[in-house]
């Protein structure tokens, strides 16, 4: 595990006793854990364990039948996704959810929509305050473009980009909102080793430089062991373990339920 500058603080978000089911399918049963300020938390588990559902609950996309989410000290039962965005939660999706008809630049600019204030009359004139506002946001989006090293695809419609770059643009859109809590659903899925390394670097840099709290879902154990401060393990909708990567790796239940099936991967992690 790498040593990082940020001091991990108290719980930024607390999940307590969450139950979520779809008809007969129980996606989450009595799940509780916390995400602490400035940390990188990995959520792992076999396919269908309920990881994506958990993120969907956190950002108001799914509404759990039972349980509460406490975020920044406020407990909420039901929340709309756009309201979650307003409180500083941004995310990316497992199956990329970009605006395909728009360029990279415009996609990332949408990440700043919440920060833009001018009404449509100003915008129609594109003059004075509206123009200045646009320029200021353009400047910060350009910083993100530089950070993610995607200058050359600025004007390309994202539908034409290869998969790895689309994931990067989606991260850019989430970063543009300057979130306090960033949820990443399998940000490295389907990438080659080099792309994965880049993505790991971006995630670590975001966490280091801006202190952004990050919860990410990842299947690649070596990545998880490398970059996360803590790990939550889900299996069949239940939380079966929660702790530092070393603790989780040594956990009998986890080995049986999850690591056991992919033993070779955990060995590579040990060697790394």
């Amino acid at each position: 595990m790498t040593q990082r500058a940020r001091q991990i603080g108290d719980a930024l978000l607390k999940v307590e006793g969450v139950h979520l089911s779809f008809g007969g399918v129980k996606a989450l049963s009595d799940v509780s854990f916390e995400i602490r300020e400035h940390e990188i938390l990995a959520i792992i588990g076999p396919n269908g364990a309920g990881k994506s559902s958990m993120l969907n609950v956190i950002n108001g996309f799914y509404h759990p039948q039972e349980g509460t989410i406490t975020y920044k000290g406020e407990t909420r039962k039901r929340m709309k996704p756009h309201a979650a965005a307003k409180t500083g939660i941004a995310r990316t999706f497992q199956n990329i959810a970009l605006f395909r008809g728009m360029s990279t630049l415009d996609n990332i600019m949408t990440g700043r929509l919440l920060k833009m204030r001018r009404n449509f009359l100003w915008q129609a004139l594109y003059w004075g305050p509206a123009k200045n506002e646009e320029m200021a946001h353009r400047a910060s989006v350009e910083r993100i473009i530089d950070f993610l090293e995607i200058q050359s695809i600025r004007r390309t419609p994202v539908g034409r980009l290869p998969y790895g770059l689309q994931k990067r643009v989606e991260l850019g859109r989430a970063l543009a909102a300057e979130p306090d809590l960033l949820l990443l659903d399998e940000p490295m899925a389907g990438m080659n080793v080099e792309e994965k390394e880049d993505m790991c670097r971006f995630v670590l840099d975001v966490n280091d430089e801006f202190g952004t709290t990050i919860a990410l879902i990842e299947h690649d154990m070596s990545v998880v062991m490398d970059i996360s401060d803590r790990v939550v393990v889900l299996d069949y909708g239940r939380k079966i373990a929660d702790g530092t990567p070393d603790q989780v790796r040594a956990d009998r239940v986890v080995i049986d339920a999850y690591l056991g099936v992919s033993h070779d991967q955990s060995e590579t992690a040990e060697q790394a």
Binding site: R91, L98, F99, G111, F120, Y126, M135, A177
Partner: protein, 357 residues
């Protein structure tokens, strides 16, 4: 080699974000506008009245529909209805307040049309695509039915016709039977120039991006903080405002007098065809599409006699329908971004000329 951006370095985001970042494009746009204003000097009454005035007004309506359908992704078949609101409300306002400037009456009527559009946009919260189109179709029929049924809208005229009363602007007759075609053309052109520019500004800023976000993926739009309902309603309102203003101009600066038939479903479809052929999600495309749909019938009337052919009028109508039909199928399947995209491709080719790559 003449048309290119070489040597034009963008030194700030402001220049990069400009509507026409390439100098030649800017010069071209200014030329087009200048020529448009000088046209009354050379065009005859027939061209102004039968071709150019309806073209400009329908361009405005097409921009309105394109904001809603091309940018925000909400299919509407109620364009004729929203234009009718503009037409009838301009009539009501200007007859109730004869001293009010008629252009202000048109704008106020546009605002009322925006309100009506807002109401008929409410179903978009729950329904999408085809079903929403059916709901807007209901708007189309309901509005026309109302204007036919309730005498108040036509000031109880027994014929059910609304007629543009004579009004002046800066001492010049702009509406009514004595208003000349060149004057009406210039008023309509000014409206289009102003509102096309405003639309272009809207779509390249925050609002345009939130519309396109809703269009491309409403779920993702919501998680970045866009409120889908408000965003769609704003699209309905602004779109209907454009259609309403176009409807007011249609009655007062083109037809002179009208009944509800002028705004029937055929008009809604015709404006929809304009944006499909011109290009969904393009302001320029809206204007190109309007030009195409208004010019083709004129071409079919005038071209055959020039080469010594005579074409019966019904055959001409049939050719027109077939041509539009096949073009719409072509554009929907092959190039959904329409004539505007073809224009863009041509420009890119020209930029590289004389080198093929």
């Amino acid at each position: 080699m003449i048309y290119r951006e070489a040597g034009q370095f963008k030194t700030s985001y402001a220049t990069d974000q400009m509507m026409f970042p390439i100098l030649q494009d800017r010069i071209f746009m200014i030329l087009v506008i200048a020529v448009a204003y000088l046209i009354p000097l050379i065009a005859n009454e027939y061209w102004l009245q039968a071709v150019l005035i309806p073209f400009l007004i329908l361009s405005l309506a097409a921009i309105g529909l394109n904001l809603l359908t091309g940018y925000a992704g909400q299919l509407s078949l109620g364009t004729g209805g929203f234009m009718a609101v503009g037409g009838y409300m301009t009539y009501k306002i200007t007859t109730a307040f004869p001293d009010l400037n008629v252009l202000i009456a048109v704008l106020l009527a546009g605002l009322l049309a925006a309100l009506v559009g807002l109401v008929f946009g409410i179903p978009s919260l729950r329904i999408k695509g085809f079903y929403l189109a059916v709901a807007t179709l209901a708007a189309q029929f309901f509005i026309l039915w109302l204007f036919n049924k309730v005498g108040w809208f036509v000031n109880y005229s027994p014929s059910g016709t609304i007629t543009a009363p004579p009004r002046t602007l800066l001492g010049i007759m702009v509406t009514g039977p004595e208003a000349t075609a060149p004057v009406r053309y210039l008023v309509v052109l000014t409206f289009l120039a102003f509102f096309a520019l405003a639309a272009k500004n809207l779509v390249r800023g925050r609002i345009g991006r939130s519309w396109m976000a809703i269009r491309d993926m409403d779920i993702a739009a919501e998680i970045i903080g866009i409120r889908p309902f408000q965003t769609k309603l704003l699209a309905f309102a602004i779109s209907s405002f454009y259609c309403g203003v176009a409807g007011g101009l249609y009655v007062f600066f083109y037809l002179g007098s009208a009944e509800t038939e002028a705004f029937d479903i055929a008009l809604s479809f015709s404006v929809l065809f304009m944006i499909i052929i011109g290009g969904l999600g393009s302001i320029l495309g809206s204007i190109l599409g309007a030009a195409f749909i208004t010019m083709v019938p004129i071409f079919l009337t005038n071209a055959p006699p020039l080469i010594g052919l005579s074409m019966p009028i019904d055959l001409q109508k049939h050719i027109e329908v077939m041509l539009f039909g096949s073009l719409i199928v072509f554009f929907l399947i092959v190039e959904p971004r329409g004539l505007a995209r073809l224009w863009q491709i041509a420009k890119e080719k020209f930029r590289l000329w004389p080198f093929p790559h």
